[in-house]
Subunit: 204 residues, 2 copies
DNA sequence: CTACTTTGCTTACGGTGTAAGCTTACGGCG
DNA sequence: CGCCGTAAGCTTACACCGTAAGCAAAGTAG
């Protein structure tokens, strides 16, 4: 977790910061990935950063703020550029797959998305490219939002089902290849059905 | 929480129980409904039942077991008899709506379903009637499970989006009628699209 | 140097889940 | 009746949590 070479703050005086908000968030996500959500205590997070727990409060209001920041971080990670040639239905499918990829890359963090809803602006930025494809096809913003958000909640719900475990399961719980295949084809079937359904309603 | 008139246990001797597992679960759900998930502490739950916190451990292994039991309780509540004349697509739509109704009846409990996945047998019992409609139409069990579970995760994901709030919101957060309408029509659109998509794939 | 500002640290408190062992209330049996 | 086994509930205690309050340190500006 090396600090950036030039860490002089913008503001005038004061002790130079040894901690960045981004450092904290990235470390928090790493802890969640390796040891799970419950392992992310303020003391643990501080220890990982070589700092006392209370020092974190200079940068984030409380533990919930840390978790919310992790959610935003994940949203940024899920952002994908879209091929400009895609139709809205292709873009929608791609969006769902990309969002899913990000969630599965951080299985222990997925329940966070359920508990700490994504900031609305962050969410819109994440879906922005797809929404544009709908607009380009002459569809209303309402229809676009309905379709994209429907896919988004499906992806999240599906990921929850995939990574979920009666909490108390032995730590990391590596997924078998068969299980992964099962969930993947279920996912594709559901996503395809939903996109096809919207296509039938909106017309291509 | 009056005890049932005849509360003699089945087993031989011993002090007669003053607490039932069902009492505990029902009270837990009531606390969650009124004061939220965080308010459900073992001490609080004991106090509501007129009992010391540690007494609960005679009936449920730990707090997570209480939460899991609440989830099962909700699943039982979501169970709906289906009209035998329904096609699989009608039954599927009805199932989604009924599941959604139950979730919205307990908004503060919805995140539980994300965190504590439903027991597999409980889930199958919940979906059993719908699965039968698929079988009656000659569809494979795999296809049936894919469709029903897809709807289920969509319903849960959607409910999470509806009831979710940056945790720290002022307690109960009553929903405006406009918001409820918005989510309802979004829900109908998404569910309809998904069911239509599966219908197109499976054939009616 | 002194004054100021910002960061990080120390200490402390109330609340949590729950492990260990004790007490209480019953039904059965001598 | 007295005693005993047994199951339910209670008391106490502990480690750990988030975080409020105030202090120490490390820079810049004058």
């Amino acid at each position: 977790m090396a600090t950036t070479p030039e860490r002089r703050r913008a503001g005038r005086g004061g002790r130079p910061p040894q901690l960045t908000r981004e450092d904290i968030v990235a470390t928090a996500l790493r802890v969640i990935d390796t040891d799970g959500l419950d392992a992310l205590t303020m003391r643990r997070l501080g220890a990982e950063l070589g700092v006392a727990a209370m020092s974190l409060y200079r940068h984030l209001a409380n533990r919930d703020a840390v978790l919310a920041a992790v959610v935003d971080h994940l949203a940024a990670e899920a952002f994908t550029e879209l091929d400009p040639g895609d139709s809205w239905s292709e873009a929608l499918t791609r969006f769902g797959a990309a969002y899913r990829r990000t969630l599965l890359a951080h299985p222990r963090a997925v329940p966070l998305l359920a508990t700490h809803p994504m900031d609305i602006d962050v969410g819109l930025r994440l879906m922005g490219g797809v929404l544009d494809r709908f607009a380009a096809a002459g569809l209303s913003r309402t229809d676009a939002l309905t379709a994209v958000q429907s896919v988004a909640v499906f992806v999240l719900g599906h990921a929850l089902a995939q990574v979920g475990a009666p909490p108390g399961s032995p730590a990391a719980r590596p997924e078998t290849a068969e299980a992964a295949d099962y969930y993947q084809s279920w996912f594709v079937a559901g996503l395809t059905a939903m996109v096809a359904g919207f296509a039938a309603r909106f017309g291509r």
